[in-house]
């Protein structure tokens, strides 16, 4: 794992400095165990070097070079042993880190969801809510449940539905102010500061994948809106602070899944991938023939939702 790059170092830093309340998957737990203390120190050093958390948050992927080389090397020395062969999460992370070494436009992020492995636990839905601090009315990755057959031959099928990050996204051209666009790496981004909240894009999405932030809190009407609801989100690499009575973005905006762009750019898999109990969700760079997702997209079990619309989704299902 020594060959792995600065992105891995950034991953650790990001996790600690953001202090997200994310439920860690086994990948995360093991990775954290060994090197926590050193990393703390490292973070301190880094904060001093970059002028504090706020400045760090402003760093864009292109700024990776700005992280001192010595710091990166120091971090890598303490990496835990690699996971045994066959650990899919670790393989995906390696795929991710490899992709991050390429320029943005050479990456193509895709997700593959194995419907036979999904157990419908909705851990992904919940971890996504925790990661992005989603308020009532906003959900990025609901899990649709389908009942098939009749007793005694009844089955249930679970279909997690993130944003499809379509190659031909119907939500993009409709935006009157160009506040949403397709990034070079395939992710459909929303500029919360530009979005006027007209919700045209929400109506235009054939997957109901966009939702609207009404400025509400789960704790409203209870004695206290709890602290976890007041924590900032870090979508698109910026800090978004919601608080009761505040109507600043992302309140009043269209919101949707972005494959946890802020995590992947920092070497971490999307929250839903790391927390998937059945290891049913795969993520990676389709442009890399070595990647797990590239291999899976070659499956004969492959299916995409509403293929006939020509939206060219980048979320694939294995049925």
């Amino acid at each position: 794992m020594r060959t792995l790059d600065d992105a891995q170092a950034r991953a650790v830093r990001a996790e600690e400095s953001m202090g997200t309340a994310m439920v860690q998957g086994e990948e995360g737990v093991r990775a954290e165990a060994g090197a926590l203390t050193d990393r703390r120190e490292f973070v301190k050093e880094l904060l001093a070097a970059t002028g504090g958390l706020a400045a760090w948050m402003a760093l864009r992927p292109e700024d990776a070079a700005a992280v001192p080389r010595a710091a990166r090397a120091a971090d890598l020395l303490d990496r835990p042993e690699p996971y045994p062969e066959g650990n899919l999460l670790e393989r995906m992370r390696a795929d991710l880190l490899r992709a991050l070494q390429k320029p943005v436009h050479e990456r193509k992020w895709v997700m593959v969801i194995d419907l036979r492995k999904c157990i419908g636990c909705k851990a992904c839905t919940v971890s996504c809510i925790a990661e992005n601090n989603l308020p009532p009315g906003v959900v990025y990755r609901p899990v649709v449940e389908e009942e098939i057959g009749e007793f005694p031959h009844v089955r249930r099928r679970f279909i997690p539905r993130p944003c499809m990050q379509c190659d031909n996204p119907p939500c993009v051209p409709v935006c009157p102010v160009g506040a949403t666009w397709k990034r070079a790496d395939g992710i459909v981004e929303i500029d919360y500061e530009a979005c006027i909240g007209c919700r045209y894009c929400i109506t235009a999405c054939p997957y109901n994948a966009r939702t609207f932030d009404f400025g509400e809190f789960y704790g409203e009407g209870t004695p206290e809106v709890m602290d976890y609801e007041r924590r900032p989100a870090f979508e698109y690499g910026k800090k978004w602070q919601r608080a009761p009575g505040r109507d600043g973005s992302p309140v009043g905006n269209a919101r949707k899944c972005h494959f946890c762009l802020h995590r992947i750019e920092n070497g971490m898999l999307p929250a839903c991938v790391t927390t998937c109990l059945g290891t049913a969700t795969y993520f990676g760079d389709y442009n890399d023939p070595e990647s797990l997702v590239h291999q899976l997209v070659g499956s004969t079990r492959l299916m995409r939702l509403k293929e006939e619309l020509g939206t060219e989704p980048n979320v694939y299902y294995l049925v």
Partner: protein
């Protein structure tokens, strides 16, 4: 009781209803401005509700009234000459009401200017806003050319409102001598013709465009119909025509004889358009329903036989088409009946707009999505909240007040007969 007393009472009743609506509306607007979207009933799965429906409704009235005014200024239809200004005024007013409706609907009201500073011209919505802006300028210019001499006359008469008239006339002073005055009127007529000629394609484009704004959304099979732009235009002319008919037949703005002429003409328009509208609607519904298969089937069935079936059958078909047709065809000479008919057509067209905007959003994109996440905003169900209605009440009552003030104080009926447009 004498007629005057009856009238006085009726006036009081109208004023009382207006005051209640306005105050209730005011509460709604304050709530909207302080609490954002907290009191709305629309959600993330049905994101467009009453306010969007109100917007397309008002915008339709505006386009319709404007296109009728162009009959005077562009096509020189003498019969309607005396109500050209009223039509223009109604067009401007309802446009304002439409824009306020959609403004309240925005998630970030303060960012509306971005549509001008960073437009995305691939978006039909951006086009709409730009076209409306052009349209507003055009209507105001037309109104100015139409009324500048009368405003000047009013200003010269003095009185407390004189400065207002002067300001509305933008300081314009009409020449005194008869020849110069005639030249001035001729110039106005030329300008009105030019502006009206630009306005016709503009109004057709933007209102057809509003139809296209919905029709281009491939994700919603119910909207995704090539018939929509035509449907929208017809609806605009019909509802705008109905409103004018109600205004002309219901209010004393022109002489008895003129009214009869205008009413006869407008009645013909409204009846023709109503029938055409029904034909379009028949195609819109019967084609997907005929074999009972297809994507929009469920939505159409919801409209026709769902829990709000009465909006289509009773409000729209019976009150908005059946009753007005009967009144217009059976009692064309009865001024009251005609006014009611026009008013019903205009008012109930809101039902068409609601039935157009909302049902398309009631179908989950994926079967089962409705049960995937339990949240009050994540449901495929929508009934406007009282708060939403109150904001509409504010818009309607304010619009009515402006209309009343305009009719009362502005020269919306030509002072001198020869000035009436064409």
């Amino acid at each position: 009781m004498t007629t005057a007393m009856v009238r006085g009472r009726a006036r009081h009743a109208v004023a009382a209803v207006w005051a209640v609506l306005f105050l209730w509306g005011l509460v709604g607007v304050v709530q909207r401005l302080t609490a954002g979207h907290a009191y709305t009933a629309y959600g993330s799965y049905v994101p467009w509700g009453l306010w969007v429906s109100a917007y397309i409704y008002f915008i339709g009235l505006s386009a319709g009234a404007f296109l009728l005014s162009s009959l005077v200024y562009v096509f020189r239809l003498k019969d309607l000459q005396r109500v050209g200004r009223v039509a223009l005024f109604v067009a401007a007013l309802t446009l304002g009401m439409a824009l306020v409706s959609i403004w309240f609907d925005l998630g970030h009201m303060a960012r509306f200017y971005e549509v001008f500073t960073r437009p995305n011209f691939k978006s039909l919505m951006a086009w709409m806003v730009w076209l409306y802006t052009a349209y507003v300028c055009l209507i105001l210019a037309e109104l100015w050319f139409e009324t500048r001499c009368d405003l000047d006359t009013f200003a010269r008469r003095g009185g407390p409102l004189a400065p207002v008239y002067r300001a509305l006339a933008l300081g314009w002073r009409c020449p005194e001598s008869p020849e110069a005055l005639a030249a001035c009127h001729a110039q106005s007529r030329r300008w009105l013709r030019v502006l009206g000629s630009i306005g016709v394609p503009l109004a057709v484009t933007f209102h057809g465009g509003v139809g296209a704004l919905f029709a281009t959304v491939a994700a919603r099979p119910y909207w995704h119909s090539a018939l929509y732009p035509i449907f929208f235009l017809t609806g605009a002319l019909l509802s705008g025509g109905g409103l004018l008919l109600a205004v002309v037949a219901g209010l004393d703005i022109v002489s008895e004889e003129e009214r009869a002429r205008i009413v006869r003409r407008l009645t013909r328009f409204v009846v023709g358009l109503l029938l055409f509208d029904l034909v379009l609607e028949w195609s819109e519904f019967s084609i997907p329903l005929w074999y009972g298969v297809g994507e929009e089937l469920d939505v159409l069935k919801t409209v026709l036989f769902g829990p709000y079936w009465w909006v289509f059958w009773i409000v729209h078909l019976l009150m908005g088409a059946g009753v007005p047709l009967w009144l217009l065809l059976r009692r064309p000479g009865d001024r009251r009946a005609v006014a009611w008919a026009g008013g019903l057509v205009a008012l109930t067209y809101m039902a068409v707009r609601l039935n157009l905007v909302i049902p398309a959003q009631l179908e989950p994109a994926l079967r089962g999505l409705e049960r995937a996440f339990v949240d009050a905003r994540l449901v495929f169900h929508y009934v406007p909240s009282l708060h939403e209605w109150s904001v509409v009440a504010f818009i309607v009552s304010t619009g009515a007040a402006v209309f009343y003030l305009g009719m009362r104080f502005l020269p919306l009926v030509p002072v001198r007969a020869e000035e009436g447009g064409a």
